[in-house]
């Protein structure tokens, strides 16, 4: 096989300047009080004008700490000791208080609900320009411009932020970032809680040609937006840079290592590595279509070999045997407590051994449906049949009642003899004696799920956004546990925005939108129905083109 030259980066923007860095981290390390090692670093990194950079790394490697160190922001009450130096436009960042750098650096935090400061949408977007004491006309222009760019309707101006859904709040937070008009944007997992369509809009605005002068994004699963990235930097579990370069080069040269560290790499890159191991050396791709085109150019024998390798990447979730339904909703109307009805006339059943995907745009009522399916929320109309179920809520902290992870399982009803085995099965043996609130987000999620599944009290388990904010290893671990629980005969419903996760673990899926269940069927069929995806504000999974290709072959 011949080694083809690398494809040029598919980025329509002008390439980044070779000039001085707008933002620079020079051997920056941070250590939290009472910690025996640095949370991150030492790391050196520069962000140049026109550059779109991606910071990758496993959960807990200190990415957020590194971002905040740029202007000296630190979590209240937990100031880390910083070594090294950060500069902005060549000036030492410590020369000004963190708040003064708001004219230079705009931050977009992971959880918009915890970062909004205004009362109405307009207040929120105008907050940063108001803080800079800009003339009112300029503040008004920045606010109107940001609303238009994000596509927020004018009617939202006076809408109270508290009445928005989580995804809508994230879009308002994006508009606020754009209105801040800072040349450098730092986004910490901006799409973690967004439905695919909203996530694509956010990526386009942050990483597109009309975005800020320089952008640094942390994202565990950036998806197709990786094409907009000029440079990727990967941190290892010790918080030090382990790979750096163009995304194509980083995923090609260090993909194996990143995968071993639990860091997300594009499906195309995974497939490229697998084909390489099978003796098929192809140009490093970023998109599945790219590598499939390259495979199509191979000789017939090579294509056949490639097909066998690619078939291993086609998700095949286990199908549940045709058994009587474990739980059934019969023409139910669902509403959150004290809220209006959001879903009407839902008829749905879930069988033992089945993992049912629940997809839909932000604010469609998926979490409300989850609570109704588990029997935890009263129905406004219709009937529910079946045993009570458990819900693994989006915020895992609401489950915690124990002082340690071990105690949490005991208080949840797990038999004492089985606690260690359950902790080990969920990868929590090392943190058995730590307080649940001191765990990483991925560990918290796994502990919440372990406390629900460590007993056989709940034959029906609903997982609400189980992979949000998790790295690739965390998401894979949750996927494996879902398969295991389904294999034990439990019924699982998985509410998710991650199309590839749904495709990998759920044989059957429902699409919730427009006040009801819009579609129901095999996940692979629904997620390749472009008209349905467009109508529901969803996007095709990364594996979609691969499934199409395999079918054509």
């Amino acid at each position: 096989m011949t080694v083809a030259p690398r494809a040029p980066e598919r980025n329509a923007r002008a390439q980044p300047d070779a000039g001085p860095a707008l933002a620079r981290w020079e051997a920056v390390a941070a250590r939290y009080p009472f910690a025996d090692r640095d949370a991150v670093g030492p790391v050196s990194l520069a962000l140049r004008r026109g550059e779109r950079a991606l910071l990758l790394g496993p959960s807990g490697c200190g990415k957020s700490t590194l971002l905040r160190a740029l202007t000296g922001l630190s979590p209240a009450g937990a100031d880390p000791a910083l070594t090294g130096r950060t500069t902005l436009f060549g000036r030492d960042a410590r020369a000004r208080p963190a708040a003064c750098w708001a004219d230079t650096v705009a931050f977009l935090f992971q959880d918009a609900e915890e970062t909004l400061c205004g009362f109405t949408v307009e207040d929120e977007i105008a907050f940063a320009p108001e803080n800079r004491a800009l003339p009112p006309a300029r503040v008004a222009a920045l606010t109107a411009g940001a609303m238009a760019r994000v596509g927020l309707p004018e009617a939202w101006r006076r809408r109270r932020v508290a009445t928005l859904s989580g995804g809508e709040k994230q879009l308002v937070a994006l508009a606020a970032l754009l209105a801040q008009d800072a040349p450098v944007a730092i986004a910490d997992e901006p799409t973690a809680n967004l439905a695919p369509k909203a996530a694509a809009r956010m990526s386009a605005l942050l990483l597109g040609p009309d975005g800020p002068a320089a952008t640094l994004v942390v994202d565990h699963r950036i998806g197709s937006a990786v094409e907009r990235i000029d440079r990727a930097v990967a941190l290892g579990p010790d918080g030090r840079a382990t790979a750096e370069g163009s995304p194509r080069a980083v995923f090609a040269d260090a993909g194996e290592r990143l995968e071993a560290l639990g860091v997300w790499t594009p499906l195309a890159s995974c497939l490229h590595r697998a084909l390489g191991r099978a003796g098929l050396v192809l140009p490093p791709p970023l998109k599945v279509n790219e590598i499939l085109r390259a495979v199509d150019g191979l000789a017939p024998a090579g294509r056949a070999r490639a097909r066998r390798v690619a078939a291993g990447f086609a998700p095949e979730p286990p199908h549940a045997a045709r058994k009587p339904a474990m739980a059934r909703l019969d023409r139910v109307d669902c509403a959150p407590p004290f809220g209006p009805v959001v879903l009407r006339g839902v008829t749905l059943e879930i069988r033992p051994g089945e993992a049912l995907g629940v997809l839909g745009p932000n604010g469609a009522g998926k979490s409300t449906l989850a609570a109704c399916l588990a029997g935890l929320a009263p129905l406004r109309a219709g009937r529910r049949h079946g045993p009570p179920g458990a819900v693994a809520f989006q915020n895992p902290e609401v489950h915690f009642i124990g002082g340690t992870a071990r105690e949490q399982l005991l208080l949840s009803g797990a038999p004492a003899a089985g606690v260690d085995a359950a902790l080990a099965a969920w990868g929590l043996a090392d943190v058995a004696d730590r307080h649940p609130f001191a765990l990483s987000q991925g560990q918290k999620r796994r502990l919440a799920l372990a406390s629900i599944t460590a007993t056989d009290r709940w034959p029906l388990v609903v997982l609400d956004e189980p992979t949000a904010g998790l790295d690739a290893r965390g998401a894979a671990a949750i996927g494996a546990q879902v398969a295991r629980l389904a294999g034990e005969g439990r019924a699982l419903a998985v509410v998710t925005h991650d199309m590839d996760f749904a495709l990998a673990v759920c044989a059957r899926t429902i699409v919730v939108t427009e006040g009801g269940v819009l579609a129901e069927g095999p996940t692979a069929a629904l997620l390749r129905d472009r008209a349905l995806l467009a109508r529901a504000g969803l996007a095709a999974p990364e594996a979609g083109p691969l499934l199409d290709w395999l079918e054509r072959r």
């Binding site: 630190s74 205004g118 009362f119 907050f127 004491a133 009112p136 009803g413």
Partner: protein, 245 residues
């Protein structure tokens, strides 16, 4: 209608109205105030009468002790008698307990009239922009307003998680035991959330004491002051009529 009046003149007027209710110990004035405030809510603000009655309940409970003593036992509490004796504009021919009861209702209804016709965010912004309320206090108030629905949502999720362990759906209204059990986790949540919000505000350039602009906090217009002056004139006339008996 009242929703369009600038919050600050309206606040001044409502505070003076409450002050007049406290100063004028006259049953007619208290009943008139109550009727006017409730009437404005029902007629101009389209608030359902049942809602107005529900709003009056806590204030009625506050004054109910005076009322029951006065009506059921035909006696007056020492406090009521002392109040009637000490007030400058008092009418001795009305039962003091009855006056106190209606005074509590009138003050409550005037407060409700202000609360239901005023955008809380606009009020805080107006206080910051025109009444020199420090921005650190103003935005702390706005954050507190954000926190209330978020804490309620978090509490609901915690109640569901706990109900799940008990094997039954949570009740509509939490029991006192539940409230007690949730207090500490919710306090911890509120503290964590407030810390993150403070970091976010700092990241967006908020500095206590620094100069700032306000996009949507116009000063009161002439019409607002005219409304305030007219309403105060009516209030003064009513007070004068009561004083002349």
């Amino acid at each position: 209608m009242l929703g369009r009046v600038h919050p600050l003149p309206k606040l001044v007027f409502c505070l003076l109205w409450i002050a007049a209710s406290l100063a004028i110990f006259d049953l007619r004035f208290q009943i008139g105030s109550l009727a006017l405030a409730a009437g404005l809510l029902v007629t101009t603000e389209r608030v359902r009468p049942a809602t107005v009655l529900a709003l009056a309940v806590p204030f009625a409970l506050f004054g109910f002790g005076f009322l029951s003593t006065s009506l059921l036992f035909d006696r007056e509490t020492g406090f009521a008698v002392q109040m009637a004796r000490e007030q400058a504009l008092a009418r001795p021919d009305a039962a003091p307990g009855l006056v106190l009861f209606f005074r509590a209702l009138a003050c409550g209804m005037v407060s409700a009239l202000f609360a239901l016709t005023t955008d809380a965010g606009a009020l805080v912004r107006a206080l910051m922009a025109q009444a020199r309320l420090p921005a650190s206090i103003g935005y702390a108030l706005l954050q507190a307003m954000h926190l209330v629905p978020d804490v309620a949502r978090e509490a609901q999720a915690m109640r569901m998680a706990r109900a799940m362990r008990r094997g039954r759906a949570p009740g509509r209204i939490p029991t006192p035991w539940e409230v007690g059990a949730l207090a500490v986790p919710l306090l911890a949540y509120a503290i964590r959330r407030a810390g993150r919000a403070a970091t976010a505000m700092e990241a967006r350039g908020f500095r206590p004491g620094a100069p700032r602009t306000f996009l949507r906090a116009p000063p009161p217009a002439r019409g607002d002051w005219a409304f305030c002056a007219g309403a105060l004139g009516l209030l003064a006339a009513a007070a004068a009529a009561c004083a002349m008996r």
